[in-house]
């Protein structure tokens, strides 16, 4: 059976090169990087090289990178640590379409008594800079705005946001978990104060992330403990995974041009074929400002979970914003915030590609989808309208 993986915004295939780079740190190089002997010192050197590789991908200084266990930890550290360690009262500004790893800590701070403002998005999932300006005028804030959306791939105007936040004397964090490695991210050109990234979206195994913290940014550590990571994150460093993340970032840097050409061409090919083969389909999100690998598309009158199970039977992996797949009864908060009608939300499918996909796979998926959509519409009481 075919095996076509189009769910790379959920997690990615581990790159063989990354596994190779990690292996010595499971076997020979097992020392604690904080130790004052050769076992530790030899390991520390590799960890610091990984820090340089991560910094290079986003054009940061290595001293501005701390390693974490995942994107969620990076987001929690930046938002809770940034607000609680600011030394002045801050509001919290975010958007309605953020990942739960950002909305969670923002709403936690709201419950703890901070003013929290969640900015709206328009019908294509794009934010409004005027609304941001109004929110900033209500007092100094920590602003957390994603670089690119995990469900729709919509890219926010982070450069303009950074300019506005800086002018207001506020702090900017961006969840760039989906953007890093897919589009160029440069913290000198786009002066954010903090930036989260995650390893397993970049072809490392799950269990490692990083947070960029611009020099001079006040932050209260989220993980309290030892003096690791310059006192900004307690806990013995997860060396094999950190080395893997370094390796993945170096590869990602060299592959970014391919994302904009090869991966984007495959995604466009899929979009075009699906729209041609499946009537009553609509693309969700701002197609002019979108990650090269992401396609979010709704099929009216049918339901996402059913589509995913049929796709899975045919060896294809994707995901859906349907209520039935969310673990609750609520459909995607991102598509709802965009005002996508319920009928289209429940039939929404996200295809997210990687550089490992091929044209042949894309054509196969489009063919599968045409059959599945036809079959499910024959079953649906609304299918013949």
């Amino acid at each position: 059976m075919k095996n076509v993986y189009l769910d790379n915004n959920a997690t990615t295939q581990v790159a063989p090169e990354v596994v190779e780079a990690m292996m010595p740190f499971f076997k020979e190089l097992w020392g604690n990087p904080s130790s004052m002997h050769a076992f530790g010192g030899g390991v520390k050197r590799h960890m610091e090289k990984a820090r340089e590789q991560v910094a290079a991908l986003i054009n940061a200084d290595p001293s501005e990178i701390i390693f974490t266990s995942c994107g969620t930890e990076s987001d929690n550290t930046a938002i809770r640590g940034g607000v609680e360690g600011a030394g002045r009262p801050l509001n919290v500004i975010t958007t309605r379409v953020e990942h739960p790893a950002v909305l969670g800590p923002c709403r936690y701070l709201k419950e703890a008594g901070r003013r929290e403002i969640e900015l709206t998005v328009d019908a294509v999932g794009q934010m409004n800079l005027v609304e941001l300006g109004e929110a900033l005028s209500q007092g100094p804030a920590l602003v957390s705005i994603m670089w690119a959306n995990n469900e729709t791939g919509v890219i926010f105007p982070v450069a303009e946001v950074a300019e506005a936040v800086k002018a207001a004397g506020s702090i900017l964090h961006t969840d760039a978990v989906q953007a890093v490695g897919k589009v160029p991210v440069d913290v000198r050109r786009v002066p954010v104060d903090m930036l989260s990234l995650s390893g397993h979206k970049l072809h490392t195994p799950k269990g490692v992330g990083a947070l960029y913290i611009r020099k001079g940014t006040k932050l209260k550590p989220f993980m309290l403990g030892g003096h690791q990571e310059n006192g900004r994150r307690g806990g013995t460093e997860n060396v094999p995974y950190i080395v893997g993340l370094g390796c993945a970032c170096e590869f990602a840097k060299s592959w970014i041009p391919e994302e904009a050409t090869k991966v984007a061409a495959l995604r466009d090919r899929l979009e075009k074929q699906l729209l041609a083969k499946c009537p009553d389909a609509r693309v969700n999100g701002d197609t002019k400002h979108r990650l090269p690998n992401t396609l979010n598309i709704s099929f009216e009158y049918i339901e996402g979970e059913s589509i995913l199970y049929h796709l899975s039977d045919l060896g294809v992996a994707a995901s859906s914003g349907s209520a039935c797949t969310s673990g609750s009864l609520e459909p995607s908060h991102v598509l709802r915030a965009m005002g996508v009608p319920f009928t289209a939300v429940n039939g929404s499918i996200r295809f997210s590609l990687s550089r490992y996909n091929t044209e042949e796979e894309i054509d196969y998926v489009a063919e599968c989808m045409a059959g599945i959509v036809r079959k499910l519409r024959e079953l649906s009481p609304f299918g013949h309208r």
């Binding site: 797949t325 459909p331 609304f382």
Partner: protein, 284 residues
């Protein structure tokens, strides 16, 4: 992925009886595109009054399609009186079980069947009509529907009610009302299981009878709840309408002991023995 049984996956992949029967004897429609699932059921009766054919169309997830397919298989050959007694449990059972969060799919099947039978017998509209007070506005679930599902499935938590009816699964504002309904149904069920309620309304209690009833109520209604939290209770004395008790185990010295006294112990004794009772803790 959900933990679906092979039978669910089989009925999802190869649904039986898909379509619409032309000129049917009964039509039932429930759900909508906005709700995330919908089912249209049609059936045709044979001259002997049995269901000769049943067909469905479903918009929904894998378990919604499988539940609809199972429903049509179950009711074929049944009389309408038999079909009327089919519960959502029967549908779930036929499929070898459904994940708890997907039980509402089986309820949707039973509702469509009910609407179709009503449509045949009374010529009412095929669409399920919301009768009585609507509790969940997000998914259009009424008080009577919640009560019925609670009873038929012996539900005990709000989360279960949401899994079975979807009520409370949207904005969540109706959860306190669901809690009230659940409490009412549970206490009705508890009363139905015991003859105590009848005793209560009969002749005035003698002191001896009162003590016995208090002891019975403590054993049946109160002690099990306290034991769950590692506590216990002992009846010390009954003086007129004053019930003197001692809290033991974790309950002794518990910061919320006074709440337990009023909310759990006194409420139960007043309900099952006499509304005049006052509970107090024995002095050590």
């Amino acid at each position: 992925m959900w933990d679906y049984t092979d039978k669910v996956l089989d009925h999802f992949r190869n649904p039986r009886n898909v379509g619409v029967i032309p000129d049917p004897d009964g039509v039932g429609e429930v759900g909508s595109l906005a709700c995330g699932d919908a089912l249209k059921l049609t059936f045709k009766l044979a001259p002997d009054g049995r269901i000769a054919d049943a067909k469905f169309q479903t918009f929904g997830c894998a378990s919604a399609i499988a539940s609809s397919s199972a429903l049509t298989e179950i009711i074929k050959g049944m009389t309408l009186d038999e079909a009327e007694r089919v519960t959502n449990q029967d549908i779930a059972h036929y499929l070898g079980g459904l994940p708890e969060q997907k039980m509402h799919c089986s309820v949707m099947g039973r509702e469509a069947l009910e609407a179709a039978i009503d449509n045949h017998r009374r010529g009412t509209t095929a669409k399920k009509i919301l009768q009585g007070r609507v509790i969940c506005n997000c998914f259009g679930v009424t008080e009577s529907e919640i009560e019925r599902v609670c009873r038929e499935n012996r539900l005990t938590t709000v989360e279960q009610v949401t899994n079975y009816t979807k009520a409370g699964g949207g904005c969540g504002n109706c959860k306190p009302q669901i809690e009230d309904i659940l409490r009412r149904v549970l206490s009705e069920q508890a009363r139905a299981q015991t003859p105590v309620a009848q005793v209560k309304s009969a002749a005035p209690l003698t002191h001896l009878k009162k003590i016995r009833l208090i002891e019975e109520t403590i054993e049946r209604e109160i002690r099990p709840k306290l034991l769950q939290d590692g506590g216990d209770i002992e009846l010390v004395d009954v003086i007129g309408n004053r019930v003197v008790i001692a809290l033991r185990g974790m309950c002794a010295g518990c910061a919320v002991a006074s709440v337990t006294m009023k909310d759990v112990i006194e409420t139960a004794l007043r309900e099952f023995v006499s509304p005049d009772l006052e509970v107090e803790e024995a002095r050590q």
